[in-house]
Symmetry: C2
Subunit: 154 residues, 2 copies
């Protein structure tokens, strides 16, 4: 998630053949870092970061996630979810609603404004992912997504 110093290609060529380049966790970190870096830069104009975007996306879904579920899903500490939701709530994008099944937990749901914001944000995020993956063909992207899903869950 750096400021993108134009990524000098010489260094990459020299290093891309090392054994480290065969470690999935390292490659995943690079993909993730570049991807969310690009997404963050574009989301800045909406006053969001990928963290907010992720929460907003789930709040817009029909599953009405609990804060604890967001924590597990996004691999973030519950206290960070609190702060994130406070911010999104201050933007009028989401609300906390009581969970009918458990009065300890709160469901996070998007407001109409939140859903509108999400639609705009999704466009810039999709654009960012798209040119993060410009080296892959359409078919490769589908394979990649399927394998990522398998690796991410499962």
């Amino acid at each position: 998630m750096r400021a993108n110093p134009v990524e000098s290609p010489e260094a990459l060529d020299r290093l891309a053949g090392t054994t480290l380049a065969s470690e999935p966790f390292f490659l995943a970190a690079r993909v993730s870092g570049q991807g969310s870096g690009a997404a963050n830069r574009r989301l800045a104009e909406l006053g969001l970061k990928v963290r907010h975007y992720s929460v907003l996306a789930l709040a817009c879904s029909d599953v009405h996630p609990t804060q604890r579920e967001l924590s597990h899903y996004l691999l973030l500490d519950p206290s960070q979810i609190v702060a994130l939701i406070d911010e999104l709530q201050a933007l009028g994008a989401v609300q906390r609603e009581p969970d009918p099944r458990d009065r300890r937990s709160k469901m996070v749901v998007a407001t109409a404004a939140g859903r509108a914001l999400y639609r705009r944000a999704k466009k810039v995020v999709d654009a960012a992912s798209s040119d993060s993956l410009s080296a892959l063909t359409t078919e490769q992207r589908e394979d990649f997504l399927a394998l990522l899903r398998l690796a991410a869950f499962g």
Copy 2:
């Protein structure tokens, strides 16, 4: 990179079908987070983190990377590379050597002790990656690696 709260599966099942689960950057972040989390936990017994491991791996290669190259490759700020190498140097694992081509930059090379440490570290990291990817067949892992490489560079 959390403490691994046993990842309650119910939440994942409910949320894995949302549109967010189709965003490559999000999936990559999850894979990366889980993978380096697991690796970090195992590397702790060697007094290392994945950051150190990554630097050490490159220092053990035959490319003799420059600190600036490490910075580009690992997506870390140059100042963080300084700290990382200070620590590895304090462990006697790496050395800074003058770059014959450019006296401004310094090459980072592993010592014999550093290479021995790397071999031990690589075992635990490989074990961690292996069970991070336990949901993939051997063939799928190869495809996944190839696609990751393409996405990470390219």
